[in-house]
Every structure is written in structure tokens, then in C-alpha cells.
């Protein structure tokens, strides 16, 4: 089985992310980067599928050269190959241009049975790239997968559980397909020293716009109809008012305060 896992490098969830209000982007300088946490579940699921059904796992990311670090981590977790899509022409991509670029990369890998994405990235929080990618690649998609029940390799069929608000939905689809995963699906492994060694020795090919072909006007800024009008950090919450004193007095003050605000 040929498995592709799409990953994104995002600012550490422990870092204090600052916005650049004029450019409308995140300030990434000096902020530690990690693999998007949901993508770690995607990698783990890809590696588990390989372990159960055979085949190979290729991880792919679109991003700046330092996104290689994220790909190396994925290799250390057990992926077999990694590809980085990186080109100045890809800068400024919104989810439409990103899914376009990734789709070209996955086409170039070729003959894919299943594409796995995290349900969304923790920086943009759109959850659009996975479904957008399925559309571009003309793949069936199952989003928010919490469990893969079965892959029937002979009949090219996948059955999976989707985590939906009202419960669990069981969906089958024919392969090739794309799934996006939620964190209930597995517990990502800690890499072992041998896979770390293998990862550090791996050569990661970098594919640019020319390698992918495609239409230049669909890449990067030009291919991104979404405009970020404004980005800002909401003001920190102000502390509430503390009413002190004896209970009887304090309760009276509280009632008065609530009444004067038309809450009571």
C-alpha cells in the first residue's frame, strides 16, 4: 500500500505567538517550530497502516527549507521517505494554493492508495487543506477519522469511524481515498534511536514549482484568493471585580452590582 501523509510545521503550542499587524502574518522568527500536533497522529496512523498491511509511507510538506526538521521527525517516527515542496513561488499560499501545490506533489509521487492529513493545523485552524486536497486529487474523503476499522486491500475499500458532534459515524469508501484524523485515533510513538539515526542520514528531495509543473498563477500569493484583512491578538481579559467584606454586606453589594447592570 502506498501511503502519503501531509504535514505542516507550526509554531510550538507552548510558544507565545505574536502577530505582525501590518503584514497580517504570524511572527515566526525566534519561535520554536514543531509538527502540527494533529499531523503527528496522521504520521502514526500511516506507519501503523504500513505495519499492518505492508507498503511504504511518504511524508510531504510544503514550507520553507527549515520544514525539513519536521520531515526528519516524521522519518524518525517510522515514515520511509520524505519530500519537501519549497519554492519562493509558494510563498503567501492560502489553503486553496496550498492544496493545489500539495496535490501536484502527491501526483508526482504517484499511485497513492491513501492520503492522511491531520484534521487541521493549530496555527491557521481552517481544516480546509485536507478536503481541498481530496477535491484536487479527485479522491473520496473521510474527515475527522477516530478509527480505521478495516482496509480491504483486495477490494480496495476502507471503513472508518468519524468523530461527529452527535457521536460516531461509520463510513466506507473505495480506495484511493483521503482521510483526516483526530487525536482519538492513536497515541503517536516516541521514536527509537535507530529510526532517529536513519532519519538523520536520509536525503530529503526538495521539489520547486518547476519540478511540479502546474500553472504559475495558481501558486503562492497569485493563487490565493483569500486576503487576510486584519490580524490581531485579542486584548487580555481584565480581572473581575472582587467584592470583599462580611458575607451579608458582600451579598448585598453583589445584588446591587448585578441589578445596576440589569443582570438581575
Amino acid at each position: 500500500m502506498k501511503i502519503v501523509v501531509c504535514i505542516k510545521q507550526v509554531p510550538s503550542t507552548e510558544a507565545k505567538v505574536q502577530m505582525d499587524p501590518t503584514k497580517g502574518t504570524l511572527i515566526r522568527e525566534g519561535v520554536e517550530s514543531i509538527i502540527n500536533p494533529f499531523d503527528e497522529y496522521a504520521i502514526e496512523e500511516g506507519v501503523r497502516l504500513k505495519e499492518s498491511y505492508g507498503g511504504e509511507v511518504t511524508v510531504i510538506s510544503m514550507g520553507p527549507p527549515q520544514a525539513k526538521d519536521a520531515l526528519k521527525t516524521a522519518l524518525a517516527m517510522g515514515a520511509d521517505k520524505a519530500v519537501l515542496l519549497s519554492d519562493r513561488a509558494f510563498a503567501g499560499s492560502d489553503t486553496l494554493a496550498t492544496s493545489y501545490t500539495l496535490s501536484l506533489g502527491i501526483r508526482k509521487i504517484g499511485d497513492v492508495d491513501i492520503v492522511i492529513c491531520g484534521k487541521q493545523a493549530t496555527d491557521g485552524d481552517t481544516a480546509q487543506v485536507g478536503p481541498g486536497l481530496a477535491q484536487r486529487l479527485k479522491l473520496r474523503q473521510i474527515t475527522y477519522v477516530s478509527k480505521i476499522r478495516e482496509i480491504d486491500a483486495a477490494n480496495k475499500k476502507i471503513t472508518a469511524e468519524r468523530l461527529i458532534e452527535s457521536g460516531t459515524q461509520v463510513v466506507s469508501a473505495s480506495l484511493p481515498a483521503l482521510i483526516t484524523v483526530v487525536k482519538d485515533i492513536n497515541q503517536p510513538r516516541i521514536p527509537n534511536i535507530f529510526s532517529i539515526k536513519k532519519a538523520t542520514r536520509a536525503e530529503i528531495p526538495v521539489w520547486g514549482a518547476r519540478d511540479l509543473g502546474g500553472d504559475p498563477k495558481d501558486f503562492g500569493f497569485d493563487g490565493s484568493p483569500t486576503q487576510v484583512v486584519r490580524i490581531f491578538t485579542p486584548p487580555p481579559r481584565q480581572g473581575g471585580e472582587i467584592i470583599e467584606g462580611e458575607a451579608s454586606e458582600a451579598v448585598a453589594k453583589l445584588i446591587e452590582a448585578l441589578s445596576s447592570r440589569n443582570i438581575l
Binding site: 521514536p191 535507530f194 539515526k197
Partner: protein, 383 residues
């Protein structure tokens, strides 16, 4: 000079830190309280290849460098010194010593199994009446046909009660002083080999410390490690490996103390602001930072020498002396930051403080480190 960690060192650091955080940290306090040997953790460390980090790939390891080896000890030491101690003995005192002095058969037989954690090793040099003065040991090994018969007691042996093999030092020639000592690899299941666990230690409570009692233990001659009569050299080189990870473990433990104190100091409010904002508290943090960073640089310098294959006994002693004293200073200050809460078992700082103490005592006391350093520099030995 290059002060950056390589990509693989960074990846090892991240991996071991994640392992320590997820697998060790949640159970460390309870294991300490119960004096419980962390068998599950040791098993998982074996599965992840952690014991094999610095072991060459041809002997079942990962083939990482000596700085990665120190980083492992540091990250383990940051959360649990007992686990770090198990690692130090298994890898530095036993596996690396067999790699350096063993013949090919011995290396093939033992090192891959030590790297995978399939077997545990211990190191028997110290005796009830022989510590710093190792040459005065009383254990004997008497030639008998194809074997040696070993008699003697070994004291304060980390992993002693749980080990599958022991590197044992004994006198094969009582009249030859240091040149009369021989090292053996002893299977701990050999008849006559027994152990007694030592309890009520001040720290390292979840690591196993035992006395080894060897009564007419028959060891085949092929189990001599190095050559007969060269045991003292084997022991001293083993300590060069061991002291290195002790020093690294001290840096990790000191970092753990610092991190715990920092978290507390930013949360604890007195006089209307977090205590981290008080000048005398800040002085303690600055002192701790300088101490930890200096210690880390000393350790990595030794790693650099080891990577280049340059003799480093003196530099290891410098790092071990500094780091073991340093971690006690840092643990003292970190606990001071906690005030009365530091004196209780509510925070890990209490365990860290107790665990810090052993480091100036084992693998050569601070005083012995000083005598080695000064004798190397002055050309006159004090003992």
C-alpha cells in the same frame, strides 16, 4: 569551536526528553517513596534503544557520539536520578568497559544484549573496607584449572540485586598491589553469587543498590576482562566513562531543580508580587544559571575529547568534581526558593535535593577527584 548541537544530538535530546516526561516523570515520586526498582521503565528504555545510544551499530547500538550519550544522561537526570544511575552503570561502567577491554567474543556476547536492555549489568569494585583506596581490596581470585575461584564482598553496587552480569575486580596476586588485580565478567546466576539489597538510602531510592557476596564463585578463564593483572587499569578507564555520565546527570538534575524552582517562583506571590520578582530570589536564580551552564560546558568539552579519542581522565575529573558540587549548590538554592513547601514531599524538589547528595561521593569522592586533578597538573601523586 562549534557550540551547536548537531541535528542527531538535538533529535536524541528531544526523544529522551519526551520519554522522560511521558514515561518516567509520572511515576518517579511513587517509585522513590516505595523504593521500587523501575523495571517497566528499564524495559521501555531497552525497546527504544536508549541504552545503545553510544554503542557502535555493529554491536547493536545506535552509533551516536559521546555528546549524545551525555545528553541522554542529562535528560534522564532531569526527571529521575535513579533511572539516570541505572543508565550510567549499564552503559558507561559495563557496556563501554567491555567494549574497550573485552575480546571479540566477549563484545559479541554481552554488548548487544546490554544495548537492548535484555540483560542488566553491574560493576563491582568497591568493598566494605575498600573505597577510595581501591588497591586495598580483599576479594581474591585463585586459579584452579580452566577457572578462577572468586571470594569476596562488593559494597554499594548499583543494579547489584537486579543484574545479570557483574564486572568484578579481585586480586589474582596479593603481593603485586595494583598490578595484582584482575577484572572478570561474572554471570550473577553462578553458584556462590548472592546479593543483599541496601535500603534506607538518603536518595536514589528507586535504583537498586546491593552488596554482592561471592563465595567460591567459579568463573571460567575466558571471562577475564582485559588481561590478568591489568584489572586496575580496567577499573580506572571504566571510571573515566562512568564519571562522565555522572557529571552529565548532575547537569540534568540541576536543570530539573532550576526548572521546578522557576515554575514555583513565578506562581508564588508574596509582598504583592511573584517571588521571582524579588531581588534576593533573582540572585539565587542567576547563581544557579551560571553554575548549570558552566557545568554543561565542562561536560560537553569532555564529550568532545572522547569523540576525538583523546585521553581525558583529568578533564573528566574536573567535570565530575564541578558538576557534583554544583548540583548540591543548585539543589540547595532551588529548595530555598520553595521555602517550607520545599521541605515537604509535595514538590519534586525534595527528592531532587536528596538525590543530589550522592554525586560528590560515588565514582570517586570530590576529594579523590581533586587529588587526581592536582597530581596530573603537578606531577606529584598524593597517594
Amino acid at each position: 569551536m562549534d557550540f551547536d548541537l548537531t541535528e542527531e544530538q538535538q533529535m536524541i535530546k528531544k526523544m529522551v526528553a519526551e520519554f522522560a516526561e511521558k514515561e518516567i516523570s509520572p511515576v518517579a515520586a511513587e517509585n522513590d517513596l516505595q523504593e521500587k526498582f523501575p523495571s517497566d521503565i528499564v524495559k521501555k528504555m531497552g525497546e527504544l534503544g536508549i541504552f545503545g545510544t553510544v554503542i557502535p551499530e555493529e554491536y547493536g547500538g545506535g552509533g551516536f557520539d559521546n555528546i549524545a550519550h551525555a545528553i541522554v544522561a542529562e535528560e534522564l537526570g532531569r526527571v529521575d536520578s535513579s533511572v539516570r544511575g541505572i543508565y550510567s552503570v549499564q552503559v558507561s561502567l559495563v557496556a563501554l568497559t567491555i567494549l574497550k577491554w573485552g575480546n571479540e567474543d566477549q563484545k559479541r556476547k554481552y554488548v548487544p544484549r546490554l544495548a537492548s536492555g535484555e540483560i542488566l549489568g553491574c560493576f563491582g569494585l568497591t568493598e566494605p573496607n575498600s573505597g577510595s583506596d581501591a588497591v586495598s581490596m580483599q576479594a581474591t581470585a585463585v586459579e584452579d584449572g580452566d577457572s578462577y575461584i572468586i571470594n569476596g564482598n562488593k559494597m554499594w553496587i548499583t543494579n547489584g540485586g537486579v543484574a545479570d552480569i557483574a564486572v568484578i575486580f579481585a586480586k589474582t596476586d596479593k603481593n603485586a598491589g595494583a598490578r595484582g588485580i584482575t577484572a572478570f565478567i561474572v554471570d550473577t546466576k553462578t553458584p556462590g553469587f548472592s546479593t543483599r539489597d541496601i535500603h534506607q538510602k538518603l536518595g536514589l531510592k528507586s535504583s537498586n543498590t546491593a552488596e554482592l557476596i561471592l563465595t567460591d564463585v567459579r568463573v571460567p578463564k575466558e571471562n577475564i576482562l582485559g588481561e590478568a593483572g591489568h584489572g586496575f587499569k580496567v577499573a580506572m578507564s571504566a571510571l573515566d566513562f562512568g564519571r562522565y555520565t555522572v557529571a552529565a546527570g548532575c547537569v540534568g538534575l540541576a536543570q530539573g531543580c532550576y526548572d521546578a524552582a522557576k515554575k514555583y517562583a513565578l506562581e508564588r506571590v508574596q509582598f504583592g508580587k511573584p517571588i521571582a520578582g524579588h531581588q534576593l530570589i533573582q540572585e539565587m536564580f542567576a547563581d544557579m544559571t551560571v553554575d548549570i551552564e558552566a557545568g554543561r560546558l565542562l561536560v560537553y568539552r569532555v564529550g568532545h575529547l572522547k569523540n576525538k579519542g583523546i585521553p581525558n581522565t583529568r578533564e573528566v575529573c574536573v567535570a565530575k568534581l564541578f558538576c557534583s558540587e554544583m548540583v548540591n549548590r543548585v539543589a540547595y538554592k532551588a529548595l530555598q526558593v520553595f521555602g517550607g513547601y520545599g521541605f515537604s514531599g509535595e514538590f519534586p524538589i525534595e527528592r531532587y535535593y536528596r538525590d543530589a547528595r550522592i554525586n560528590t561521593l560515588y565514582e570517586g569522592t570530590s576529594q579523590i577527584q581533586k587529588l587526581i586533578i592536582a597530581s596530573r597538573d603537578l606531577g606529584i601523586s598524593a597517594f
